[in-house]
C-alpha cells in the first residue's frame, strides 16, 4: 500500500499534480474522516427527513385544526428559507440560547455540537420537502380505494399505514429520490459551522498545500460516486417495489 502512496509523492515531484491526501498520512486520515462524517451525516439526515415526511403527511390529514396548521407553518418556514441561513440560525442563534453543560476542559459548552445541529437543521430542511412529496403521493391514491378500506372498518391510522402510504410510496419514489440526492449534496453546507465533512477537510488540505484544482476535481468525483451509489440503490428499490398495473 505504501508503495502506491509513495508513487503519488513522485507524481507530485515529477508533474506537480499534488494529491497529498494520498501520500501524506496526516492528510489521508483527515480525508478519510471527512468521508465517513459525510456518510454519517447523510444517513442520519436521510432517515430523519423521511420520518418527518411520513409523520408530517399523516398530521396534515389530521382532524385537529392545529396539527394541520403547525405542519403547514413548519413547511413554509423551512421550505422558504435557505439551508445555509438555517444552519447558522440553529448553530449561532438557537445553540447559544440553550443551557450549557460542564465540559472536559473546565469551561461551559452548549449541549449540542456542530454535527448535531447540522443533522437537525438538514433533516428539518429536507423533511419539509418530503412532507409535500408524500402528500402528492397520498393524493394520487384513488378515493375509491380509501372508501373501500373505510367500508371494511379500517381506522384512519390503519388506512394511512396499510393502504394509502404503501401505494403512495410507489408514486413518490422518483420525487423522493431527487430530494434525497439534493440532501446528500446539501450536507456540504455543514462546513460553514465547522462540521469536519469532505468539503471542510478538502478546504483544509488545499489551504495547506495550495492545490485547489486537484482537490476540486477530487471532490467533484467523490460526490459523483457517492450520489451515484445512492441513486443506484434507490433505483433498485423502486424496481423491487413496482406493482404491475399500478402507477
Amino acid at each position: 500500500m505504501d508503495v502506491i502512496f509513495e508513487w503519488f509523492r513522485v507524481l507530485y515531484d515529477e508533474t506537480s499534480i499534488n494529491l497529498p491526501f494520498l501520500y501524506d498520512a496526516y492528510d489521508r486520515n483527515r480525508m478519510i474522516d471527512g468521508f465517513f462524517t459525510t456518510i454519517r451525516l447523510s444517513l442520519v439526515c436521510l432517515f430523519f427527513s423521511v420520518l418527518i415526511g411520513v409523520v408530517g403527511t399523516w398530521l396534515q390529514g389530521s382532524t385537529f385544526k392545529w396539527a394541520r396548521r403547525i405542519v403547514n407553518g413548519y413547511i413554509q418556514l423551512f421550505r422558504n428559507t435557505p439551508p445555509l441561513v438555517q444552519l447558522y440560525f440553529f448553530y449561532f442563534a438557537i445553540g447559544t440560547m440553550l443551557p450549557t453543560v460542564e465540559n472536559d476542559w473546565g469551561g461551559q459548552s452548549p449541549i449540542l455540537g456542530s454535527f448535531a445541529w447540522a443533522a437537525i437543521s438538514l433533516s428539518f430542511f429536507a423533511g419539509a420537502f418530503n412532507v409535500e412529496i408524500f402528500r402528492s403521493g397520498i393524493e394520487a391514491v384513488p378515493k375509491s380505494t380509501v372508501e373501500a378500506a373505510e367500508a371494511l372498518g379500517f381506522s384512519r391510522l390503519q388506512i394511512y399505514r396499510d393502504v394509502t402510504l404503501p401505494l403512495a410510496f410507489r408514486v413518490v419514489l422518483p420525487a423522493l429520490n431527487n430530494n434525497l440526492v439534493n440532501l446528500v449534496k446539501t450536507t456540504t453546507l455543514a462546513y460553514a459551522i465547522a462540521v469536519p465533512e469532505m468539503l471542510y477537510e478538502a478546504n483544509q488540505i488545499w489551504s495547506d498545500n495550495v492545490n485547489v484544482t486537484e482537490m476540486m476535481i477530487f471532490l467533484l468525483l467523490a460526490y459523483f460516486v457517492l450520489v451515484g451509489i445512492l441513486v443506484g440503490g434507490m433505483n433498485r428499490w423502486e424496481r423491487a417495489m413496482r406493482i404491475p398495473g399500478f402507477g
Binding site: 496526516y26 449561532f92 469551561g107 465547522a194 478546504n203 483544509q204 489551504s207 485547489v212
Partner: protein
Amino acid sequence: MSNMTMNTFASALIISAMGLTAASADVLDSIKERGTLVVGVKADYKPYGFLDSSGNIIGIEPDLAQDVADKLGVEVEYVPVVSSNRMQFLEQGKIDLMIATMTDTEDRRKVVQIVDPNYYSSGTNILALKSLGLKEWEDLRGKPVCGIQGAFYNKPTSQNYGAEIVAFTGTAEAYSALKAGNCAAFVYDDSAIVAKTNDPEWSDYEMPLKTIDDAPWGLAVQLGEDEFAALMSDMITEWHKSGRILELETEWGVANTPFAEAMHAKFK
C-alpha cells in the same frame, strides 16, 4: 477531427494563450487605463483590515494600499478577501494587488509573486478564557480549538500539539463559537489577538501562550508581473525607511512590533 481542423484548433489555442500573457504582463498599464487599483484586503481582521460602522473597509493594510494608489495616481478600490480565497482572487485577476495579512511561505511563492522585503510579521498564539489557566501549547491536546479555514497553522497546531481544530470561514464566527464555549481556545495571529484582549468585551480572555512560528507577511502580485513587483518592492522599502509602518501601528492602536522596528533600523 481532421488534421486541418486540429491545426486551426491548436493555433487558436496558442493565439489565445499569447493574448492572455500579453494582457496580464502589463497590469500597471491597465491599472492606469482604468484609473483604479483593485486591492484585496481583509475585512474581518482588526486593526489590519476591518469594516467601520458605515461598512467601509479601513485599517493598516487599506492605508498601505491607499499609499500605492497615490503613488500610481489612481483611485483605490478594496475587495474583501478571506484566507481561503485570496490567492485565487489574485490568480484570476479579480484583484491587482493583495495585502491581506498573508504569511510568506515557500508553497505560496509558487502560486503568487510575493514581493521582497516583507512588510510585516506576526506569530501564532491563542485567545482563551483566563479561568482555563492554559500555560503550554501541550495543554491544548484533545481539546477543540477554533480556527480560521485556510490558516497555515491549523495543521501544525493539531499535528504537534494534538488540538482538534474547528475551523470557520470568518473570524466573526470563530469568536462567537469561542464565546459560546464550542472551543477551548481560538488559534490565530498574535497581532490580532492582542487587539482583542484590549477590548473590554473580552476582558475575561487572555493570550496565555508563548508566540510560535513568528513569520513574515508578504504582499503579492500575480506571477510574472515583474514591473509591478519591482515598484512594490521600492514602496515597501520606503515604508520601512520612513517609519510609515510604525506610524500606522501607533495610529491604529497596536504596540510597535519588534519586526517593524528592526526593519526601520535596517533601512534607515
